[in-house]
């Protein structure tokens, strides 16, 4: 039933997504469901969605992180500083090293938040509100507010721009390997269940594999249908989308299959119980924040590569989109409930609304009003849902 309710939530989110897509497609006179728009939508979503996977864990442990937007800004500046100012511009190892520096910086930021929340017992709202100011201030201080540009060509791949996709044939390869790997995991799971002499219908697994095949095929086909400028060469899967897919798989696995994930959920569902059964609750919460920091660093790479510049204002107000994505995805602010996949779909919903309204010519103020309304209604619906589940 745990899977059942989560599955129902994801299906209803996908239905909402479909309604938004078709609605805006009609309203914009056929502009929404085009390869070009969907490609850009995927690239735009990846920054928020990557952080939303980490925010899911933070909220599941009944905490919050308001500092992710500022963290992204500071990490972006650190990467820019290392890559453009410190390291020699012609070295091949320059940009990979700058990314490592960014990831380390993200882990440090997460550790800072985690120490205060988990070990000093300061409420996470306060710690990360402080972080929001501290990291944004530090982002400014790193280069006295100047913009650092340009990045190296190798780095720009992560932005999903003209160089930032893997091409048609590689995309088909990725899709094929992905579906094949998924099929293998399903076969292994089935054999395992059979060995435990538990009979499970084969048909469900076959349907799952077919669904993945269909979605993957459609995705690759659409990404390949968006051509490079002034050519008929398809772009293929954008690199940020690949990064996002890898991170979603990793975070789903951590949440479902590892003790760290299970303990995170247990802490959100019963802090005292978790302590009494011997879970190291402080360590778990600490590493949830470290993970969030590292994911903010991954998002920072994509955000700065897209801009091709490091500016101290990158990621302003992004924490709100990230939290909204998780909440629309059904991650409960009272802790213990929510899934990574649903939070990512929540990010897609927000981004679709935003980009759809751009296509129909709505002003930015109108977009803010609409997204605010959707957020409120989503939480209301979720509360109703939770109440029904309880009864």
């Amino acid at each position: 039933m745990k899977l059942g309710t989560e599955g129902a939530r994801i299906l209803s989110l996908l239905a909402l997504l479909a309604v938004i897509a078709v609605g805006f497609h009609i309203a914009s006179g056929g502009l929404f469901l085009t390869p070009r728009n969907i490609y850009n939508l995927v690239v735009q979503t990846s920054v928020v969605a990557i952080m939303a996977t980490g925010m899911t864990f933070v909220i599941v442990t009944r905490n919050i992180d308001l500092s992710v937007g500022s963290s992204l800004g500071l990490i972006g500046m650190v990467i820019a500083l290392v890559q453009i100012k410190w390291l020699p511009g012609d070295a091949a190892w320059n940009w990979p090293l700058s990314i490592l520096a960014g990831l380390a910086c993200g882990a440090l930021i997460g550790a800072w938040n985690g120490l205060w929340v988990a070990y000093a017992r300061v409420p996470s709202f306060v710690v990360t509100l402080g972080g929001l100011l501290i990291f944004r201030g530090m982002a400014f201080e790193t280069a006295q507010g100047r913009t650092l540009a340009p990045f190296q060509d190798g780095y720009l791949v992560f932005g999903g721009g003209i160089q930032g996709a893997i091409g048609e044939s590689a995309s088909w390869m990725v899709g094929l390997v992905g579906v094949a790997l998924y099929a293998v995991t399903q076969v292994v799971a089935h054999l395992r269940a059979a060995r435990m002499s538990r009979n499970e219908p084969v048909r469900r697994r076959v349907l799952k594999v077919l669904a993945v095949l269909l979605v993957m095929g459609a995705f690759v086909w659409i990404m390949n249908a968006y051509n490079l400028p002034r050519s008929d060469i398809g772009r293929g899967i954008p690199v940020p989308a690949l990064v996002l897919i890898a991170i979603v798989l990793m975070m789903e696995w951590i949440g479902r299959a590892t003790t760290f994930g299970r303990h995170s959920y247990a802490i959100g569902g019963g802090m005292e119980a978790s302590r009494l059964v011997g879970i190291n609750t402080r360590k778990t919460v600490f590493f949830v924040y470290v993970l969030m920091g590292v994911l903010a660093a991954v998002a920072a790479v994509i955000a700065t590569a897209r801009l091709n510049a490091g500016t101290s204002s990158t990621g302003e107000l992004l924490e709100l989109s990230v939290i909204a994505a998780a909440v629309i995805g059904g991650v409960s602010l009272s802790g213990g409930r929510g899934s990574v996949a649903a939070a990512v779909i929540g990010a897609l919903v927000i981004q679709s609304l935003d980009s759809g309204m751009v296509l129909v010519g709505a002003s930015s103020s109108m977009r803010m009003i609409a997204i605010g309304l959707i957020l409120t209604i989503a939480v209301f619906a979720d509360n109703q849902f939770a109440r029904e589940a309880k009864e």
């Binding site: 745990k2 269940a193 538990r198 590892t258 003790t259 009494l276 011997g278």
Partner: protein, 268 residues
Amino acid sequence: MTQPHLVNMQGVSKSFGGIHAVKGIDLTLDAGEVVAVLGHNGAGKSTLMKMLAGAYQRDLGDIQVHGQSVALSSPAEAHDLGIETIYQTLALADNLDASANLFLGREIAWRFGPFRVMDQARMRDQTAQVIARLNPHFDALDVPCRSLSGGQRQTIAIARALQFDARILIMDEPTAALGPHETAMVADLTRRLKSQGLGIFLISHDVHDVFDLADRFIVMKGGQEVGSGRISEVTKDEVLGMVIMGRCPAQIRPGPGASMLDEHGAQT
């Protein structure tokens, strides 16, 4: 040489911000024995047991398990010594299902990089087995605990304590949330575990609950011992008098928590 006690607590004390929750308690437990720990709410009995369970750290005193002094600095250390606890609050994560709760903190898992990957199928199978022994009608294995009945939740908490081969079992008000049928089940289980050679601490504020089950008892009041002895030496009313008034009957050696009587029989 005599066999060491299974548990031997000497002068165990704990205070919270200047308030003595537990003060200088001596208490032993042997294998195959049920010892009732009695007292009002706030008498310190749960605090005393939480120190044995590793959930609280004692300020003073010594605790020996099998004759060895132990630190008991964490619940995990208590688990390793074979000390299992059924908490009054049950200590369940309400959002997780039976198998997740049964193995919470002690998952069957193997190391993979920085992570430990759980063997969920095996945990689920073992959960089904141990729960079926306790309650054959329990079929809600995949449901979050919050939507289970009080008796089902209690079953999970008990199953967790039994799953890991406990030698010392602490039961904190195990029947507080149960109906008469389930209460009888817990009593049967207590007797069975006792005959298997477990040492059991049975915490209760209700004398009637434990009088038929326990071999020995200790009554606490204000964190101190009122008196302790064998159940066969006392009547229910005398024990009630100890719990309520702190009045120690003549045949029982009074502890520091007993109220003294002057020559007119009035309490001082």
